[in-house]
């Protein structure tokens, strides 16, 4: 699906993304993790042709992404609120997106009805413009617009960050369902290691623009990631024991 070769992005003299080779096959579910500034969003933006890399190329379905538009027909993405038209109502926006994919209003309505649980009654017919929604609800609109497009490739940047726990679980199920039963290739980034290892079959760990780990998710993945992110904080028993001793004295 996605092939990346010798990709480099440099801001000033800092290399923010440096990926010699990466391929993502059709139907894979990929999770992107890494601390702030690791280059996750920059990578997303380059895959979506929003910024131009200094060198290297990205192909989607065999076609170079930069300067081409065929990939837009089967790629749906939501990185931030900047993807939403803030002065429209959610309905207007979703009809607009559906219209771009030649869907009638009835078809859009059908998809939205299926999303009723996910929306939790907070999105449709509330008489608000998107700009007046909370960040979490804006995220719901963004995710819904992605699913509406029936994509082959779905890209979400930190979708779990602002939504409530119930919606997080629903979103996880929706992502799994899209990937497992519809064969959608998903690329999702998150800071929540539990969610990401739950949803994704393959985890890419980024540090300072470089993919330092590329692991197939297994039962040990979560603890492996926790070890990496818990740098210097040995969650061991020693300090606890010490406190216990002091209390005993």
């Amino acid at each position: 699906m996605i092939e990346i070769k010798n990709l480099k992005k440099i801001y000033g003299n800092v290399t923010v993304v440096d990926i010699p080779q990466l391929s993502i096959a059709k139907g894979e579910s990929v999770g992107l993790v890494g601390n702030n500034g690791a280059g996750k969003t920059t990578l997303f933006r380059m895959i979506l042709d929003l910024i131009l890399p200094e060198s290297g190329e990205i192909t989607s379905n065999g076609e170079i992404v930069a300067g081409h538009e065929h990939w837009k027909a089967y790629t749906a993405s939501y990185l931030d609120e900047g993807f939403l038209i803030e002065y429209l109502t959610p309905e207007e926006y979703l009809y607009f997106i559906g219209g771009l994919h030649q869907q009638s209003r009835a078809q859009v309505d059908e998809t939205l009805t299926a999303l009723g649980d996910f929306f939790n009654g907070e999105i449709l017919n509330r008489g608000k413009y998107i700009r007046d929604l909370s960040k979490g609800n804006q995220c719901k609109v963004g995710v819904a617009s992605c699913l509406l497009q029936n994509p082959q490739l779905l890209m979400l940047d930190e979708p779990f960050a602002n939504i409530d726990p119930s919606t997080q679980f629903r979103l996880k199920n929706m992502l799994k369902d899209a990937n497992k039963s519809k064969g959608v290739t998903t690329i999702v980034s998150s800071h929540d290691l539990n969610h990401i290892t739950d949803v994704c079959d393959r985890i890419l760990l980024m540090e300072k623009g470089v993919i330092i780990k590329d692991i197939a998710t297994s039962s040990s993945t979560l603890s492996e990631l926790e070890d990496y992110f818990g740098v210097g904080q040995t969650v061991g028993a020693t300090p606890v024991v010490k406190i216990d001793e002091e209390e005993n004295h």
Partner: protein
């Protein structure tokens, strides 16, 4: 603490993206403000001459005393329209261990530093020291100054109070405006009373009893204190934010546009953009004001047909120029979304053409009453409308590809320099000059109608060859799109 606030305020001003980074913009901005103040000062210095012409039968001081109050009525009305509320700037301090009185005091005091408070002094001080001081002595002159300071302060805080109230309830503004208009109508049309006489009754007495100046001074202090108390009781985000009370926002369809498919959808979105956001709405309203250009140009017999072109172009194309000069900055906040969705650039641009064409045609229809000044006027309007649809739109879109500045839709339009850059300043020149390049040679050799016909022909050719221009714009856009998107991401 206050000095820290002021330091932060200065930093906010100089580091804000709205301050217009390029030197050209700053220079023009400073120049415009100085020019405005210069004009007012000139009017102030020449006040005695103006009053002599306006009220030739009255004593100079008497007519001066008569207009002061009328000015302040106008001043209040203008403040209600234009003065900015010093509001959300306190938000980051609300949760910190800072005394409420400090915060409120700071908010209330800084409200004095508004350009509007300079106006009355520029306007009235020259007269006071030129005419009143030599006539009635320095004590009386000082009394006048104190009275004017008092009323200015009173107006300042009254306007702010009313604006804060009207942010919570839209009716307050409407009622205030209605009351102000009624006060004026009751005087000038119905003659129930005379503001001129009321104003003289007070300021005339000031000449003999300077101590009366204490009344406006007290009024000012009371209004300040009232404002202070109101702010102190309402130092909450909901009342401070300039956000209007939420009303139910309904979905809108524009059936005329839906027949154009995706292009129509995009144009409909843009129309919603214009109507649902403050700044874009004001550019539309300014466009409507340009509709009155004809009254200036056509009633003045000394202006020839050359000026008609200008009037016609602005009346049918004011929106294209006013709104178009900031394109695509209006869509900056969701430009990434446009880039990744299934919209081709040619559809994107065609939607702009559709929008401009629709608005220009509507503007042309609105100018039809000018036929009162002769059929020729209407013909010029038609030609300039065709010219705008064909040529102006393409020039505007050419410059849109060179605009990398985002626009915050939620901010109001008055004195807002956000998004103004070199490309906006450059844009107007070719727009105004190009029709004259074609027209002037023929006008000079006494065949203006051939010039007009050529303008129309050029416009029509541009419309017929539009697909070619779209291709050119597209190629141009592809070489600049990353810069545009990056510029728009820069908040």
């Amino acid at each position: 603490m206050i000095s820290t606030f002021i330091r932060h305020e200065l930093k906010a001003f100089w580091r804000s993206k709205n301050t217009g980074k390029s030197i050209a913009v700053r220079v023009v901005m400073i120049f415009l403000i100085l020019y405005l103040f210069g004009c007012i000062l000139l009017a102030g210095i020449g006040m005695d001459k103006i009053l002599e012409i306006a009220f030739p039968n009255d004593d100079l001081v008497k007519s001066f005393c008569g207009i002061v109050l009328i000015y302040f009525l106008f001043d209040l009305f203008m403040r209600l329209q234009l003065q900015e509320l010093p509001t959300l700037r306190v938000q980051p301090y609300l949760h910190l261990p800072i005394k409420r009185n400090t915060l409120v005091g700071y908010l209330a005091i800084t409200a004095v530093f508004s350009m509007f408070n300079l106006w009355p002094f520029l306007l009235f001080l020259p007269f006071i020291f030129k005419i009143i001081a030599p006539d009635s002595g320095i004590i009386v002159a000082l009394a006048f100054v104190v009275a004017i300071v008092g009323i200015s302060v009173f107006n300042n805080y009254l306007a702010l109070y009313l604006k804060r109230k009207s942010n919570l309830n839209g009716w307050v503004f409407l009622i205030t405006a209605a009351v102000l208009i009624l006060i004026v109508i009751a005087d000038f049309w119905w003659h129930f009373y005379s503001l001129h006489n009321i104003s003289y009754a007070f300021f005339g007495r000031l000449l003999t009893m300077p101590i009366l100046a204490i009344i406006p001074a007290l009024l000012g202090i009371v209004m300040y204190y009232f404002n202070f108390l109101y702010l102190k009781q309402n130092l909450y985000l909901e009342t401070l934010t300039a956000r209007k009370v939420k009303i139910y926002k309904s979905n809108t369809d524009i059936p005329f546009l839906s027949r154009f498919g995706t292009i129509g959808d995009l144009a409909a979105n843009e129309i919603k953009l214009v109507f649902r956001n403050k700044r874009s709405r004001s550019s539309l309203i300014i466009g409507l004001f340009f509709m009155f250009y004809g009254l200036i140009f056509y009633t003045n017999k000394s202006l020839g047909q050359g000026w008609y072109l200008f009037a016609g172009m602005y009346m049918t194309g004011a929106f294209v120029v006013n709104y178009g000069q900031f394109m695509f900055g209006w869509q900056a906040s969701h430009f990434d979304g446009i880039l990744v969705s299934k919209i081709t650039f040619s559809d994107f641009v065609k939607a702009k053409y559709l929008l401009f064409t629709t608005v220009s045609v509507i503007s042309f229809v609105l100018t039809i009453p000018y036929v009162y000044f002769g059929w020729h006027v209407l013909l010029v309007h038609f030609v300039m409308c065709v010219w705008n649809i064909g040529v102006t739109t393409t020039i505007v879109l050419f410059f849109a590809n060179r605009n990398f500045k985002r626009i915050d839709l939620s901010k109001s339009g008055t004195m807002n320099w956000e998004g103004v850059g070199a490309s906006q300043l450059l844009l107007t020149l070719p727009l105004i000059l190009t029709p004259y390049i074609i027209y002037t040679p023929f006008a000079v050799f006494k065949h203006p109608d051939i010039g007009l016909a050529l303008l129309a022909a050029t416009g029509f050719i541009a419309i017929l060859t539009r697909n070619y221009w779209i291709k050119q714009l597209e190629a141009d856009y592809y070489s600049k799109r990353y810069r545009i998107a990056e510029g728009f991401r820069n908040k």
